[in-house]
Amino acid sequence: MPVSLLWAVDVYGRVYSLSTAGQVWEQCRDAQMEFKRVTAAQQCCWGIACDNNIYLNIHASDLPVRYQEETYENQRWNPVDGFSERLLPSDRWQWSDVTGLQHQPLDNFRLPSISWEWEGDWHADENFEGEPTEKGGWTYSMDFPATYTKDKKWNSCVRRRRWLRYRRYKAMDTWAKIPPQQTMLPDPFSDISCGGWEISDEPSGRLSLWAVSLQGKMWFREGINHHNPEGSLWEEVPLPAEVVQISCGPGDLIWAVLWEGQFIVREGISRDCPKGTSWAVVDSPSPDVAATHVAVGMNVVWALTKDNKVWFRRGVNSHNPCGSGWINMVGEMIMLNVGLNDQVLAISCEDRAVYFRQGVTSSELSGKTWRAISVPRDGDRSHSSASASSLQSAGCYFCGEVRAQSVVSDVESDTDKGSLDGASHLVASISPISPESFVDAPTDHSEEPIDTPKARIPKVTSDSFISELVSDREPGKTTREDGLSGPAVLEEEPIPGEEEVEAPTVVDSADTCSLSSVATYTLAIEDQYGADEHPLWAWVSGGGCSVDSHSQLNWFNSLVQSVQSMSLSVTPAQTAAWRKQIFEQLSERTKREMDNFRHYEQAIEQSVWVKKGTMQWWRDWKPHKWIDVHFALEQFSGPEGNKDGILFIYYNFYEEKKYLHAFINEVTILVPVLNDSKHSFAIYTPERTKQRWPIRLAAATELEMHDWLALLSDSCCNSRGIQGPPSKQAAWSVTCKGDIFVCEPSPSLEAMPYPTPCDQMFWRQVGGHLRVVECNSVGIVWGIGYDHTAWVHTGGYGGGFSQGLASSTDNLYTQVDVKSVYIYENQRWNPVSGYTNRGLPTDRYMWSDASGLHECTKTNMKPPSPQWTWVSEWAIDYSISGGTDREGWQYAADFPGAFVSIVCFLLHRKSKLTSTGPWQEIPPISLIDVTILPCAAQSSVDVVPLWAISNKGDVLCRLGVTTLTPAGFSWLHVGTDQPFKSISVGAASQVWAIAKDGSAFYRGSVSPQSPAGPGAKMYCWYHIPSPGKQKLKQVSVGRTSVYTVDENGNLWYRHGVTPSYPQGSSWEHISNNVRKVSAGPLDQVWIIADKVQGSQSLSCGTVCHRLGVQPVEPKGQSWDYGIGGGWDHITVRGNSMEPPRLPSLTAPAPPSPLPVRNMEVNGNAVGC
């Protein structure tokens, strides 16, 4: 789990963050002023500062927040000037947007706020629909609203070109003020809450931000998304009554507390309407006590009442946002917050410490116990001389809070609650009631500039006055004056004027009491809190804090203890003295007790060991079905002491007992094939690989299957003498189920002319779950999960089912992957009821997969395999190609065809798989492709160039990747004019990439010294036209060769690539039915092919090896078929082992048909 932050504000207004990996509250030094409240998301944190402005702190990321501004330059041809800016009066503006309706000259573009900067100057875009244009990017047409082409024709009367300029958000990791909106100044914000990032599929950055003002109004920030993190404007949300506090969950839950003590719940929130439509009212948990606070998560609502009791709302989900009833929980809290994964944080009313709710899981959302987060704050020592005044002001907070909660039905006292965070403390210093404060302050307290606001009770009427005073203040100055005014207020304690207006007398006396007690016992308080041992927290936000009930947090012990307990955890234990001692003594023991006695007889003789069991077998003959079989694995010690074995499958054939056997040393791979009916796995031998018909076996339970798999794979590895981690030369592959396999290549794998047939390659499984894996020959291996998370190989092995013996003990981590499952809902229109889900029998199933051939319903649809669990509800997917209407429906005349009278509706749901493997996450940027320089094994390259594409299409270069630090340390963003989707770096550091529009790019002047090229500017990309109008989708660059695959499955070879002309000259077609290609450091070419003929069926996703590749014949001759189908990805970029030189090689052997079966000369990878 990546490191993330918990944010909190203490009673002095200082902002702190606590890392999930850390053990200390770190003060946000950047904060120039005190904050009242913060609300965090994973990528940013919003806050209300004491100047009543909203501030945004975006966490620095290697991926910049950029925005592409574009405008079009339009010209018309006339006989005199040729093309010129002289347009007809009826024409569009000379500078316009793409439609031509908006006038957009270059200098009209302004930066939205001071937090932005321009990345460069305007430049013309020379890429047109995936193809390069000449002559400055002009595209031509007959007249303006028409189709443009890149070629000038005789009838081209108008032309236009697109100008681009990027602006970049620069205010990373600092609190940047959101420019205030004039209309709302008189009413400063008192509460703020962000969330809503789960309601759409947009890239992270889209947020719903809600705010409440002192007067109880509610505001929604429009237009926050990943390239506009500040949002555009505040829009008021109509309310049934005045609100004090609001909480917005990551999904569609939004609750707010009314001044009267009830709750309102927002309804009608959806992807299209993140603001929601209406309010529903929910009563306070107890009839006599008003609610004061609410916190919502994905599926939970927690609340507080005025008596500080904690309440949990039963039955809350997105269909029923109001829930069904309250449950009283233990604990007395003054503030609650629900973070990610519905984890709950609270501030206790007793000691003002932050508490974490332990044991909150999706099945037990209410958790088990409160546990105090007890970690020190950085700068504790430096602040330990905390001044009396700040402590007093802390005391004031207490009174303020107490008072706020003891006041019933008084509008103004709630203002007080809002303001006790210091919103309007300035009244105290500035308002005419307390003129002494100015007199007192400077002399006494000028040396304590960092002290904060104390609660003061402003009159609503004075607020506008304050706000005006405050709004144009410099942050620094504010701080100073806060400190100055701090103690003064206390001295002039009860303010008769205000109290009269404010509250009934009973409350008054309580007030006075508590306040004066603070004043009286200042010294006592100082003793109590003087050393800052007691955290005085005011606000906490877990919206950016990614923890769950399994997270290992070091928050709960004191520093010393946790350091000790750290020594138990994996890494430090490796180096501990006690461990060394044990290893040394054990080897001494062996020497002492055994070395001189090896000739003694062993007490227990070794023998054949047989493990038996019953399983089901997918029988070889038709009709194929599962039949019960007895299964036995006989293991024995081979002649050279290595273990070997035979496995037997005993079955009945027409009452006759028969058996099938396989030698363990011939098994090439064991593939788990989990589906929801069977716990099955497949066993391949070279013969079975040729037939595309493995031995398929099913165990009764998943556990049993894993036991067998672990045993069999251990046995296979033993018989082949393979142990320990994969070598640097290893080939890696991934199946369509995300299982990862690794193969140790033999030196003769790339031999000429007789390479090892690739159906004889032995693959063993490595734990974890990936979609893509890439490696190079110095042993750097990266992977990308289905959820686009980047992973780096830790050098371990095993994991997954082979826990225990066949795994390394360290270097294994938990890996989580998330995958979306899609189903279509089809509805047929009938004249009576319109569109319903009552279909005709000839139709597709009402719930089906994409083909319409298999029935899938929301209820019977299971996660991809039993290892997966659902993590979300079904939701409509809007991203379907061809467009959908607002509710996600597509229309067609009849299935299949153009959608008209039948509607079709794509639903998706996320599922999650947790496994273990030798992989460590590289947060936070999600990737879709990665490539590593395939260096030769002997090369002394220290820093290894590694390129990647983020899931938004940004090109990234990883800095600091070496064999010692394969994860590198940070990303360097490389500018492009459009999003990319595939990238590959060759042995000579040449970089090729494919853009989203299917065109290829070559990046010049990339040297190992400056991996990202000079200045990382976008003009370094040379646009290479795609082959024959095909849209390319993937590229792989070997030592010199460049291969691409297009969307129609064609494999292309780049012809004419030479050192002096690295772009090459043309594309040459090699093969069709290709899904993926991997070119290695020897220029070897491996692919994943589709439609490969087997004995019983065609298979998709087969690993194939190009034969006959040599310098004189770089395209090779034919394909050799290996493991498959069901494979999705392969990389051979680790194998830089030169094959052994055969004497026959010296004489140019005629490319005769090679004696390897299943090969085809030339052309298609197809078998049919």
């Binding site: 012990n557 307990s565 461990r579 062993q602 227990i604 023998s607 060991w609």
Partner: protein
């Protein structure tokens, strides 16, 4: 860097060379040669001495041979303790091979349990595993196992199959990551200086504050004299599997790696030899 799994192998494949000689008082038909054997430390004497029995039976008349038992320097060896424990406790400072006297008469009823067949050893071994799991996981793991898994544990020990044994035993060594260890550490402390068979109490792998308990912590509570005091020469050796781990070794790690197949951590405390 060596792997923790190597420790498991080293522990499993630990062997003690032994020389079995027939007691002089036994009635023999011809002279019985001593019998040399490598004994697995983790196994049980009566389980691995079939060959010894056969060897000496050859020299005796059948009616003279009663139940076989073993003795070292006058101490009858309790077969129900693992061989390694017997060695560490009674003979750790002896010259190797370990010289064991074989008896076929005068079975010391008061000191030894009878062992008529391997099924008795199996029952004893399995009860050890169950007791250990009761301490470690409230018996949940062992109860979730099938009969054949139990059998596999036993067969693994009986046939000296490390893989076979650990394929099952690893489940007994698991614990929830958030708890930092087993519920209680199954351990037994043996001593030669007392008549008590062993010390066994409830002891958690971590303190209430969450720090890991060490071997030193355990001894401090169970057997404080075993720990060296400052400024005095060491009086006791604390031996586990023939080695002396440092007192700061985490107990949980020891339990996972140096336990015998019965899942107990057998700790021998013996006086330091005076020479």
């Amino acid at each position: 860097m060596a792997d923790d799994k190597d420790v498991l192998r080293d522990v499993w494949f630990g062997r003690i060379p032994a020389c079995f000689t027939l007691n002089q008082d036994e009635v023999t038909e011809r002279e019985a040669e001593p019998y040399y054997l490598l004994l697995p430390r983790v196994s049980y004497l009566t389980l691995v001495t079939d060959k010894v029995k056969k060897h000496f039976h050859k020299a005796m008349r059948a009616e003279d041979a009663e139940e076989m038992w073993f003795e070292y320097e006058g101490t009858p060896l309790k077969w129900h303790n693992p061989i390694g424990v017997l060695f560490d406790l009674h003979a750790s400072n002896t010259v190797l091979p370990w010289s064991i006297t074989v008896h076929f008469k005068n079975f010391p009823e008061r000191e030894l349990l009878h062992c008529p067949s391997n099924s008795v050893i199996e029952a004893h071994f399995m009860s050890g595993i169950k007791e250990a799991d009761a301490l470690k996981h409230k018996s949940q793991v062992v109860n979730d196992m099938q009969k054949k898994d139990h059998k596999q544990l036993w067969m693994g020990l009986q046939n000296d199959k490390f893989d076979q044994f650990w394929a099952i035993n690893r489940k007994l060594m698991e614990y929830p990551t958030d708890e930092g260890g087993f519920r209680y550490i199954p351990f037994r402390i043996y001593q030669t200086t007392s008549d008590r068979p062993f010390i066994q109490k409830l002891f958690r792998p971590t303190s209430p504050e969450g720090t890991a308990h060490t071997l030193g912590d355990l001894l401090r509570e169970m057997y404080p004299v075993a720990l060296p005091t400052d400024g005095e020469p060491k009086r006791y050796q604390v031996v586990i599997q023939g080695i002396e781990p440092l007192p700061e070794t985490p107990l949980q790690w020891l339990s996972e790696h140096l336990s015998h197949p019965d899942n107990f951590l057998h700790i021998c405390v013996t006086p330091v030899p005076s020479d």
